[in-house]
Subunit: 135 residues, 2 copies
Amino acid sequence: MTPEEARDRFAGARVARLATAGTDGRPHIVPIVFALAGDRIYSAVDQKRKRTTALRRLTNIASNPSVSLLVDHYEDDWGKLWWVRADGRARVLDPDRDEESREAIELLHRRYPQQRVAGAVLAVDVERWIGWSAA
Amino acid sequence: MTPEEARDRFAGARVARLATAGTDGRPHIVPIVFALAGDRIYSAVDQKRKRTTALRRLTNIASNPSVSLLVDHYEDDWGKLWWVRADGRARVLDPDRDEESREAIELLHRRYPQQRVAGAVLAVDVERWIGWSAA
């Protein structure tokens, strides 16, 4: 799969999974909703997820910006399996002060009118799109 | 959500995502099929995925056994969202020499008759089941 096709498939998904790792080396993984702008993935911490444990992605990124994101498709017919991974570096934006953050929230709101953004916005600058398809 | 309910929901899923991290701190994420035995998750590297890049989970685990696995459910009706995470430590078994590995392959084959196991079997000893549900 070409990086372009991997990116297109990623863009079409409604949910992705974000893996981060802290300085202790322990990986952490959460489902996220997201919006894509070129090779940048935006995601926001919304009200529902603003519990202490859910913020581990933010403390991890503060100490280690390397992240990996996954979109995958499963069926019991394994001839139809596919997945796409985006590896990159994450930044935490401040929703009150940052123009990029306002644009990200706008993009997210267009995709997910049901989201009420309440906290930080993540920007991931994708360095590598990788995909695999059984077909 | 109680750890027991988190475990039950995990057990019912057909696919999970496995996050590992190497000594360089870079997280890595792949979709996996799996079988559960108590608080142990088994997964195998099958033929289709035996490319060089797909083995990164194994080299990561060899240097850093901490892993995180995720099962999640997405719908645009966010009142129905849920996810379950399993944090634990992974071991790589040798399919040719290990009794546990033979049992794992048997469990996997029962769940996924379509899988042809060709490589290493992973065992994850789960230390923590965590779940969240919007409902």
